[in-house]
């Protein structure tokens, strides 16, 4: 036997039936699943959805979260439920709960990492985590987890979504539906992994210095209220920003910071703005950093996704990919509009048309820039396509 995966998707209006349908399809090609991965819309009653899945999956370890759109082998979807079932005699899976983030992101990351380390002994080789970032700085969660795990263990994953409402996210762990929490799964055994991280956004205009910030809240840029950057760039349209969450308009014009680990900028999503003009981003922006407004195009974004897939494939070093995981920012989905499938097609054209693929549109992505040396440390990304390919050695 080897590593095998299957995916299923459903948009059945009934939560229970949708869950059961998607799970049935996912398990159709798998004999004895060892892990079930679930990404689903918040439009479903989450408890009913999970119990629908559990009816089919039984007690197989399960991990998942709510999202802002699903990605399956067939392409980009929305308002549905996607399920992947994996079986393998090479990989062992252990699940863990970091608990509610509740304003203590670092502790949640540490707790998750500790539990996985305890369960995995010394055999843990990589960790996928699914986190809420509406109640805590995503970068802190990653830092807490990575420090506890040590730089040797690869960390990747995504931030749960709620169909672009930015109110409350859910995560799933075995039979439980958790709110605003962090869950994770550890992978152990003999397998190879490839991680590609690209976004394709380009800086535009002059850089601005962060003169005042606290964690993910950027108060001042160039000694002026941070929101001024969007007012300057958006002109008249900036008025619209005040009526709706900032993210609605600004998400396709994120902020970007130069970093050493990559030739691409590290992206930060603007989410909300307060009355003083301070912008809350999806993750921290330190004082002294130089940020640029970023601009994207469909072509660049597709090319970036393809590059990410290529990098992931190269890192597999010839091993055939058995399953693909994708953590893709909701902003990219917004940028693509009706052409969201182009990106998925580009990835499949590199990693294989028939390789089972599951992923979701996130509020942030977690991944290292590489799998070797100094690049092994995970970052919290925004507006980025993270492609994970799991293969056999």
């Amino acid at each position: 036997m080897s590593t095998k995966a299957g995916t299923g998707f459903s948009q059945n209006p009934d939560a229970g039936q949708a869950g059961a349908e998607a799970c049935k399809k996912a398990m159709a090609k798998v004999v004895q699943p060892e892990l079930i991965i679930v990404f689903a819309s918040v439009k479903y009653d989450q408890e009913k959805l999970l119990s629908g899945i559990r009816r089919i999956s039984g007690a197989t370890p399960l991990i998942g979260c709510s999202d802002a759109g699903e990605i399956v082998t067939e392409g980009s979807k929305e308002k549905g439920v996607a399920v992947m079932a994996i079986e393998s005699d090479k990989i062992d899976f252990i699940t863990a709960n970091g608990g509610e983030i509740n304003g203590q992101p670092r502790q949640a990351g540490e707790k998750l990492a500790q539990e996985l380390k305890n369960k995995g002994k010394n055999k843990l080789s990589c960790v996928m985590m699914l986190s809420d970032v509406l109640t805590g700085n995503g970068a802190d969660i990653v830092r807490g987890a990575q420090e506890k795990l040590g730089d040797e263990i690869l960390l990747f994953g995504g931030a749960a979504g709620d169909d672009f409402a930015f109110k409350k996210t859910f995560s799933y762990l075995n039979d439980q539906v958790l709110t605003s929490s962090l869950v994770g799964v550890g992978l152990m055994g003999k397998f190879s992994i490839g991680i590609g991280v690209r976004h394709g956004w380009e800086p535009i205009g002059l850089p601005l210095k962060v003169t005042k910030s606290a964690g993910a809240v950027v108060q001042e840029l160039n000694n002026k209220p941070a929101i001024r950057v969007y007012e300057d760039y958006f002109g008249k349209q900036a008025e619209e920003m005040k009526k709706e969450p900032l993210a609605k308009m600004a998400i396709t014009y994120p902020l970007g910071m130069k970093i050493k680990a990559s030739d691409e900028f590290l992206i930060r999503d603007p989410i909300t703005v307060d009355s003083q003009g301070a912008i809350t981003c999806a993750a921290e922006v330190p004082v002294g950093a130089e940020v640029n407004l970023m601009i994207g195009s469909k072509e660049e974004a597709v090319a970036a996704a393809k590059k990410a897939a290529t990098i992931a494939k190269e890192q597999l070093k010839g091993a055939a990919p058995a399953a693909i995981l994708m953590f893709n920012c909701i902003a990219r989905c917004k940028l693509f509009g009706r052409y969201a499938d182009d990106e998925i097609k580009a990835i499949k054209s590199v990693l294989g048309e028939k390789v089972p693929l599951i992923g979701f549109y996130t509020y942030g992505e977690i991944a290292p820039f590489g799998i070797s040396g100094e690049y092994r440390k995970a970052y919290f990304h925004n507006e980025t396509a993270v492609v994970i390919a799991i293969g056999e050695k």
Partner: protein, 609 residues
Amino acid sequence: MMDSYFERRAEINQWIIRARWFYTGGILLIGFLTKIISQTNVDFSFLSMILIAASFTAVNLGFFFGLKKIRRIKSAAGLKILGSLEIGFELAAFILVMHMAGGIDSIAPIFFFITIIASSLIFGGRGAIATAALSSLLINLLVIFEYFNIMPHIERYGVSTLQYNSLSITLTTTITVSVFYVIIGIFSGYVEKLLELREKMLTEKSDQLKRENNLRQKELSKLDRTAKLLVRRDLELTLVNNQLNENIKQMEEEKEKTLTLISSFSTPVIFLDSGNILSLFNPSAGEILGIKKSDLGKKIDQADNFSLNNFAKIVRNKFAVKKIEDQQNNLAMEEAAIKYQGEDRVYKIMTAKVTEPDGDYLGTMKIFYDTTREKTIDNLKSEFISIAAHQLRTPLSAIKWVIKMLLDGDAGALSLEQQELLNKGYKSNERIIRLVNDLLDVSRIEEGKFGFEFKKTDFSEVLSAAISSVEDLIKKSNLELTVEKPDKLPKIFLDKERMIMVMQNLLSNAVKYTPEYGKIKISIQFDTKFLYVKIKDQGVGIPKKELPKIFTKFFRATNVVRIQTEGTGLGLFIVKNIIVKHNGTISLKSEEGRGTEVSFSLPIKEIAN
């Protein structure tokens, strides 16, 4: 650039003024030391030394403030004047010190090097040489003056020295010093020139860099502005695009709904787009008409207002089509017999233009109503009437002759009462016979068996025959009938019997519904093409909303049903059919309570078929 050159000059000047504080002190110190240590400068008192140094300092203070002012007003000329004053004053001060310290015996000549170098800094090479020459002149003159006692010679050591005993020795010394002045002047001038050149180069370069930097800054901020404009445009496009995506999504959903709806119709529907291209048909249309998916995109000819005949290339099932009229609206209507699964089906085809609410033409829609069943029932009905009428005619004729014979007294004389009753019976029987005849005519018309015999006829014959048939009734009701016609009427092809039927029908209607003493007018006209006949009465008229139905079978206006029980509602139907068979047209105008005017026209040329 000029600014920075001036600044540099002013700075040098300032530096010299500052240096002057120190070397004034230095020279004063040397004076003190030589006086104390080497017992020289016997006649040069401490006081005069201090006084000279003090006034030197005071003047330098003046230079200091002067320079400040010049720098403020940025006057290059002022700077030059100040420089000349400084040099002149310094030379004067040094020659005075030299004189006081014992002329050529003192070491004062070396002080002039300061001035020469200073002037090279202030004025450059030429200035330095000029100052060197001036210095040389001064010391030589001083020594000569002192030698010839033009001015007193102050003895440095209290005794007359060798130098002043021999002019040649004295001048040798001063000339040697002068030569060095000039040499130093040349050198320092040259060095200064080099420095100045380099400085100029550097200043230029730095100015150029500054300018370039400014330019870059300007370009950058321009780029930044452009970036902002581009982002604005991009944002606008993105927002519009999002809206568009949203709309497209909605439209696709709507389209799907509409398609599902149309697909589930059992009535065949075909849709042509605005370019007359087949763009949609439902499964029912596909099956019943034999249209295939591959026909989508084919162009349909518009001739004859999208008659089904134009669809022959895509309608694969056999069909025959005829036009039918529908006066209620202006849609073109056809009736088609279509062979579907071995049986003949009859469809009423409605063709409609599809427009948007704002009037934009979207295309043409054809809807096929299945009227097979109605048609069958209609046929059965006609057949029944035909048979029933035939069967009734013979006994009715028998009854007629029997009553006639009785009334004629062939069976013996009748009492008045009997005669009256039989008369009523006779009339009722006549009515039934007329109805049966009308019904037979109608069924013949519908079966296409209503035969015609066209002959060249004078319409006057028709007219008089028709009038004579109603003469009795006109007299009875005291009506006034006028006929307006040209003396001679053209002969036209018509079926005389049928045309008399037409005129009889129309005239009897006019007579029947016009009240006593009313007027009826017949007018006949003709032109090259048509003969026009008008019959106008002052009858009860026809309600406006019933006018469209007036030529249909069994129709009687509601107002006449109330007053006249007699009448079959078949007359006008038959009339219209006869006129149409003559290729003529008939129309009717009426106003309720005022009267009715029936007009028909007949073509004068031959009638086809």
